[in-house]
Structure formats: structure tokens, C-alpha cells
Amino acid sequence: MENKDRSLEGVLEAILFTMGEAVSISRLSEALDVTEEEICSAIGKLSDQYDRQHRGIKIIELEGAYQMCTNPDYYEDLIKVAKTPRRYTLTDVQIETLSIIAYKQPVTKVEIENIRGVSSDHAVNRLVEFGLVKEVGRLDAPGKPMLFGTTEEFLRSFGVQSLDDLPTVNEERMEEFKEQAEAEVMQQTTLADVEV
């Protein structure tokens, strides 16, 4: 590796370019006999360099894996030559269902249904077809219902680096809402007592 003509950055660039798909940090670390920290640091340097130089390529992180892709800034010019791989169009219902799965995973269809208030069977099935959602196991409960979770394709399609990268602020806010709601509900109850 410590050849003057070669660098870890170059190696990683060559690998990510060649492989096309997302390559996990652990696989890179193992194959190249370099610590995961060194891999991450080299990828960081490479990424910074790409940004600084307004390169046509960039590296995205997907749940402990790296993948090389085009810089979205060049999209307009890019589609003049390359075809847009229009993967799928998602309906509002599907995106709604997907966001529940993303946050609640692993989750059963019944749980999704309880949150949405309507049957979500069809939406879940379509999401599985699109490769955005997959069966991740079975719940240890009567009937052994299937548990669903999101896929790497989901992370890629939604530009989410990791599940932790999902808009967590909202969830925290949600907790606040709940506490707030409860407090207010208590207050309301008292008021209601008075009113009624």
C-alpha cells in the first residue's frame, strides 16, 4: 500500500468505481488489511477532495458501506447523455407506509395498519416489489406474523446514510408532543370536569 504511486484513497477509488455497488467498510478493511478507521478517514479525504474540486462523482455512505455515484449537481447535463433510471413512482400511501416501516422496523402489517387506520397490505406488497422493503423475520406471536424492514435500496433511493440519519428531530419532537399533550390532556380533563 505504501507505494509512492499508490495511496489508500486511490485504492478505494478504484474499488468503489469498479464494484459499482455498495461495499461494506468491514469488507474493505478485511481485504486491504487496514483498520476501519483508516478506511473511513481515507474515504473522508477523498470525499472532501471531490467536493472541493466540484467533481462529477461522489461517495455516499449507506449503513456502513460506501458507494460511488454521480454528483447531483451535474444531473441536468448528465441526463442529456445518460438515461435516467426511473426506478419507480411512489404514491403518497406508499411513502407513508414506507416511513412507518423505516421508523418502526421491524414491524408487522398489523402494526402499520394500526398507525395508519387503514389496511396497508397492498402498499407493503408494492414496497417489497420495489425492493425498498423486505421481510426481516417473524414475530414470536400467534400466527408468526412477518416483520418488515427497509433495504439498502431504500437508503440509496432516499439519500439516507443510515437509519439513524432519518429525520430523528421529529421523533424527539413527537416525544415532546406526547408529553405536552399528556400535560394538556390532564389540564383539559380538569377543565372538562368544570365545563361538564
Binding site: 459499482g20 447531483p72 414506507l98 416511513s99 390532556v185 370536569d193
Partner: protein
């Protein structure tokens, strides 16, 4: 009421309720249940349902609303049970949770649009890499094999090899079709008798190994005895049978 609103655009009862709360600028924590129930029923009444399941889900929510309404109208209940919470609480929780996922879904939708501008590529592994064969690491290859294991493997093979010639064990599971013709064999023995005045029964089997061949030859001998073409003498049990031909043409 906004009649022009796309009535069927609601994904479900929660979606409709959220719409009504927003439309009326109601505090979600203090839903005027009578008003909302009224408006809700109004909407549901105007909706057309292709999907009966969806309709029933809207109706289940209607029942919930009526239940809350009636519970809120019952005075004095809260006094008996101090900890009894607001009948709306459960509904508020569900609405809040649903609202959160709905807002997240908008955010995800934006992300989807953004990431649609990113293109990927297919793997392109150079031939030199594709055709590469790793060098052989003998030690890894041999692994935990050692001489004694190699020896036992060899002994097993020899044993197996023997089993193949063992008449009993080789019969198990291995049925070999043998071309043994009774007629041909009979002719052979008869012919033999024509050319040999006396001969050993055992000698007949010199080149015949299989059980079937032995049986067939023995049957031929019996047949020749029956037609008085030969006589046999056996001195002792398990002794060789000496055959004397009565049809020998040679001196």
C-alpha cells in the same frame, strides 16, 4: 363546508380527521368532539367507496367518535375514578403519531426527488481481475490433515475396495445385470462332457465367479444327470464332485 374538496382523497379515517382539525384550526389536544363528529359523518356520507374494507374502517372511526362523545357527555364519571383519563386521549395519541409519520413521509418524498438526481454504475471488473486465480497456499489447503488421518483415509479406501469384491456385501445395493443364458451354459457343459471323460465339478467354475453362473452350471449338471449323459460321485460332504461323462466322444 367546502363541497369542492376532493372527498375521496383521504387515505383513511385518521387522514380525514387531521384534515378536519386543520380546516377548523382546532387545537389537536382539545378536539371539540361534537363538532368534529358531525363534520366527519358529513364527509363520510358524501364519500363513495369502491372498497368495502375502507368503508368499514371509516365507520369504525365513526363509532369511536360516537363513543368518545357519549363518554364525554356522561357527567360525574371522572369523580368516581380520579385517574380516568380524557376519553379523547387515545384518539389524540393516534392522531399525533399518524401526523408525525405523515410529515416524515413529506420529508422522505423530498429526499426521493433529490436522490433521483444521483446516478450509479454497473460493476466493471477488468479481465485481469476477473481471471485472477489466487495462489495456492499449501498449508491452508492441507489444513488439519496429517499423516494419521491420511492413513485412516487410505485404510478406508482399501476396505471399501475389498467390499466391492466381497460377494455378500457387494450384493447390497448394487445389482449388476449379468448376461447368463441357461441354454448357452447347458451347451457349454454338455460340450465339455463330450470332450472330457471325467472332470471335476469345481474345475468347471474356474472362470465363473458369479453366483448366478455357478447356479446355472449346477443346473446344467443336474439336467445332464437326468438325461443320463453323466454320472457323479462325491466321496464326502463338501468334497469335489467328480463327473463321469457317458457321452464322451474322445478316447
Amino acid at each position: 363546508m367546502d363541497i369542492n374538496f376532493k372527498l375521496d382523497a383521504f387515505e383513511g379515517p385518521l387522514d380525514l380527521l387531521l384534515h378536519l382539525i386543520e380546516k377548523n384550526k382546532i387545537d389537536i389536544y382539545d378536539i371539540p368532539i361534537v363538532l368534529i363528529t358531525e363534520q366527519y359523518m358529513d364527509y363520510v356520507g358524501k364519500m363513495t367507496f369502491d372498497d368495502l374494507d375502507l368503508k368499514s374502517e371509516f365507520l369504525v372511526m365513526a363509532a369511536t367518535l360516537f363513543d368518545i362523545k357519549s363518554r364525554m357527555l356522561l357527567p360525574g364519571k371522572q369523580e368516581d375514578e380520579e385517574d380516568e383519563s380524557d376519553p379523547r386521549e387515545e384518539l389524540v395519541k393516534r392522531l399525533l403519531e399518524y401526523k408525525m409519520y405523515k410529515s416524515i413521509s413529506y420529508e422522505l418524498k423530498d429526499r426521493l426527488i433529490d436522490s433521483d438526481k444521483i446516478l450509479y454504475r454497473e460493476a466493471s471488473i477488468p479481465d485481469e481481475v476477473e481471471q485472477y486465480r489466487p495462489p495456492i497456499d499449501i498449508d491452508e489447503l492441507v489444513g488439519d490433515m496429517d499423516l494419521s488421518k491420511l492413513n485412516s483415509v487410505f485404510n478406508d479406501i482399501l476396505k471399501r475396495c475389498n467390499d466391492r469384491v466381497d460377494p455378500i456385501r457387494s450384493k447390497f445395493g448394487r445389482i449388476k445385470k449379468e448376461e447368463v443364458s441357461m441354454e448357452e451354459n447347458f451347451k457349454f457343459v454338455e460340450d465339455y462332457a463330450r470332450h472330457h471323460k471325467t472332470f471335476s465339478f469345481r474345475k468347471l467354475f474356474e472362470h465363473k465367479k458369479s453366483k448366478v453362473q455357478i447356479i446355472v452350471t449346477f443346473l446344467s449338471i443336474l439336467e445332464l444327470m437326468k438325461t443320463s449323459k453323466i454320472t457323479i460321485i462325491q466321496e464326502e460332504l463338501f468334497d469335489d464332485i467328480v463327473v463321469t461323462s457317458l457321452i464322451c466322444t474322445e478316447a
